[in-house]
Symmetry: C2
């Protein structure tokens, strides 16, 4: 058995190690265009930022280890330039010498990854306009950062924000330009508004709903011209506007690719040529939740796909279950995470859903250090099946997204979350954990115990009459800020003041986060009022409203 693997990071390296474990006698050759196999690509921004101080740390599985432990033939600085499917061989080029040679295979695994897009604008190829993908990119950026005072990042996705965090660490004045009217475009906008505010608080300038139309060299560095008309002078530019699957080799060989360029594979990671597998960022996967074809570049799935391809080569019935889009990003002490489908993805797919927001503390409020998090849960209106979740906050966000990721994998419902038995001691969680709370609130919606409404529906609640907006917080909270037109009746006096609430209009009750609003909703509903609770309360309202202002920032 002779296996060739193209690309020795994540999926490729995993496939190689697994193949060797399954067959001590197979010939396994790993081609890597770069200088090192199996480097920590997710660590590159932190190396640039100096958080990871030693470059060697990025070499997760050095070449020598792959050779000695796994008996692999690792050929770095070697690019596979062509596949000959008929003769079952590839043409490889030694990048040091330019020499090309053929290498035959029984099975071929493609793991070339995805390459950063460069915006199609003048100057995108200037020396100080960087993308970041591999170690040499990181080296160049690491050097550029030394001595620089200003930077412009184009694109406010994961990599853009991770770079922003790291440049802030290095004391560099940073502007992030983003074409969308929000940061982190895969997330729903109201969830990331607090993150944008936090970035601004930490000195990052956000230029949303704007784009670079040209980059030019100046005496002092670079000047970025914006669509909005302004210009930004900067020492260097980082372009992080997304990635494109490196499919050329596959396309040239006649392998099928999807509409967004990802190589099409079956559940065993086979391409339309059964002797050729593809894994990692280069493939189109099936979304676990709705079964749609999608491309999501993620390290975990890449590793598992590599393993599955190797399994299948050795006759095992190992199957990839799809990608559910679990992702997390740290942004200057905040954490932003999601799993499953976002609201915008559900809307785009025309799937019906319900949603709720909660803002619980990450552990018992009576124990010092509790941090508030915001959790948005999306679920099926009929079955209660969990469709997606987004969580933003500080400590404890990563825990809850992983719990929900597993719940989605298991096909669990919001009713299951009500019953989840999670670990509780006051420094870790709550007797009613945020996961339970999300279940209670969502199940309350489905059982009609707690009809909810949302900020967007506030002015037109599906009824003819404009809703009566009832603020059930304290007078002090009301005075400090409230929804325009709202009336304040604190929850504690609501029962005594029911006659002040109109019976001819729909009522929307709200409090700070939704809990008192829920109690008010229960009271009013049982007294015959048509009432809904504003999910997430004033906290979600503020996140949603401030979103409208983002695009007018200069």
């Amino acid at each position: 058995m002779k296996i060739l693997i193209v690309g020795a990071v994540a999926g490729g390296a995993s496939a190689a190690a697994r193949a060797r474990r399954l067959d001590e006698y197979a010939e396994i050759i790993l081609f890597e265009r770069g200088e090192a196999p199996s480097f920590a690509n997710c660590g590159l921004p932190y190396y640039v930022g100096g958080v990871i101080a030693e470059r060697d740390k990025l070499l997760v599985a050095p070449k020598q280890r792959l050779v000695e432990r796994y008996n692999l033939d690792v050929r770095t600085r070697t690019e596979v330039v062509r596949i000959d499917r008929t003769r079952k061989l590839v043409v490889a080029r030694d990048l040091s010498t330019g020499t090309e040679y053929e290498e035959s295979y029984d099975n071929l695994i493609l793991s070339p990854g995805a390459s950063p897009l460069r915006p199609p604008i003048p100057g995108a190829d200037l020396a100080s306009a960087y993308t970041i993908r591999d170690l040499s990119d990181a080296d160049r950026l690491h050097q550029a950062v030394g001595g620089a005072r200003t930077a412009v990042i184009i694109g406010a996705g994961f990599i853009g924000l991770e770079m922003a965090e790291n440049l802030v660490h290095r004391g560099i004045t940073t502007t992030v330009v983003e074409m969308a009217d929000q940061i982190l475009p895969p997330w729903d906008p109201e969830m990331v508004t607090p993150v944008a505010d936090h970035l601004r608080d930490r000195g990052v300038r956000l230029q949303l709903s704007d784009a670079a139309k040209a980059i030019e060299a100046t005496d002092a560095g670079l000047r970025v011209e914006l669509n909005s008309g302004g210009t930004l002078d900067t020492d260097f530019v980082v372009m992080s506007v997304g990635v494109r699957p490196e499919n050329q080799l596959a396309v040239d060989a006649g392998l099928e690719v999807g509409t967004r360029g990802g190589i099409r594979v079956n559940a065993s990671m086979q391409t339309n040529d059964p002797d050729i597998y593809a894994v990692g960022d280069v493939v189109e996967v099936t979304h676990f939740v709705d079964g749609s074809p999608i491309q999501i570049p993620l390290g975990g799935p890449a590793n598992r796909q590599g393993r599955i391809a190797a399994d299948h080569i050795f006759g095992r019935d190992s199957k990839y279950r799809g990608t559910q889009g679990t992702a997390i990003v740290g942004v200057l002490d905040m954490t932003v995470a999601m799993t499953g489908l976002s609201e915008k993805a559900l809307m785009a797919a025309n799937l019906s859903f319900e949603k709720i927001y909660i803002h619980p503390a990450h552990h018992a409020g009576y124990y010092p250090g509790a941090e508030q998090l915001t959790l948005k849960l999306l679920f099926a209106p009929d079955t209660g099946r969990i469709l997606g979740a987004e969580i933003v906050g500080g400590a404890g966000v990563d825990k809850r997204i992983d719990v929900l990721a597993i719940a989605i994998q298991a096909g669990m419902t919001v009713y299951d979350l009500e019953e989840a038995e999670l670990a509780y001691a006051p420094q870790y969680g709550s007797a009613k954990d945020p996961i339970n709370m999300a279940g209670f609130v969502a199940a309350g919606v489905l059982r009609d115990d707690q009809p909810v409404t949302h900020v967007a529906q506030l002015t037109s609640d599906g009824a003819d009459a404009e809703p009566y907006v009832l603020d059930v917080r304290t007078a002090g909270e009301f005075e400090a800020g409230h929804i325009e037109g709202a009336t304040n009746i604190p929850l504690e006096s609501l029962r005594a003041r029911l006659d002040e609430v109109p019976r001819d209009r729909p009522i929307v009750a709200y409090c700070k986060v939704g809990q008192r609003g829920y109690s008010a909703t229960r009271i009013l509903a049982q007294h015959g009022f048509a009432v809904r609770n504003l999910s997430g309360g004033y906290t979600t309202y503020l996140a949603d409203a401030s979103h409208e202002q983002q695009s007018v920032e200069a």
Copy 2:
């Protein structure tokens, strides 16, 4: 509808709030023997330790809020002394005045909790021998701690160790006496050995396999006489040897209780009298994993049971699914957590199981601050269903135990853990998260890719011949300490030195944590050797071996 609730903490308070939300018009009376309803009982040790500085923080839902928000009739300092099931009424005693009166019910919910056991030894009732259950206990201990220099804690369970942590915070020299030969008796011994070592490192003296046989007052404080013959002079004693369900009221009323005294209830939390419910630490529950009757005092389940009882009273088909024993305890910057059944519980229940140990970092090793954790996974040999897990370490332990708790709730298998898509960025996790790793290793055992063995089997591996113990770490690691009788062949040179390995004996391979041992196992198995990997490697070996020494400590 008139509902009486006995006990206003956790389950009782939850039942009351839920009942009010379901019925605005019900009469709901909450009897609480203590001075305050709904206090944070899990916070008491931290109040004693000064970590929770303000006593008011412990009042989670003050009486006034329960009255104003929930329109509850809260009667503190009032003890229910008798139930008359025929007349459907209780007799309540106002503890301030001694007055007794009757109160009728349509439904009665018992949530009296469990009371700390006092060891049946002379002096256990001395003034400076404390138990900790409610606010007044905490107040007394809080006062005792001021000015004290030494303390003896009897019982090394949760509460005992939380008290030890807090007394260390207060600078008090603390000795913990425990009858078992390990701390945290519900855990498997090899898992808590590192925790015991950590306690000793932090100055806590552990007196294992020993017990107090008497406490006597001295001029300076107290003297504890030990079974082992020694004595301990101390300023005060904390007794934390377990709890007993407060079942007297129920027993007197003829309600059924289990063999360990817990009130028997059905899935809707009804006792054998359908008008009387019981919730929280006083009830016997069904273990979620094996269906056995059990008593586990936990805050989360108590809260959910209260909710379920209220639901059922109002005609809802709400059912408790059983308790799976998810528990967590912080011990001076270490975290110890479990969910499902322990190995000793599986042994006691005579259930068949497999087990594995891993010692991964809690996030990517290349990102600074990675802390090693130890994870033990117990699973069914036939289906791979997850039966239980224990995790010990620092950061990230709480996350993984919650993920596994949900996985157990969902009935997931180790194969599901292989495919789990968890959130990965280097400061939060790994592309192959500890959860995935546990899945890989456990599934490898079931697929016979990686036969494992354990420390206890080292000297008698089921075979006639004594195993050849092969240390595949580096020469340097081997020299620094190894299993007695082991031979060192580093993994990297194993393929070249196969002829040194005997073919007539079973081989046990090991490394530091199990990964290189796995690779060695794969190599040797494919070359025809009968080989097993020592699960958890030398790290687990040390934890298991040092366990034997605990009991001889003076």
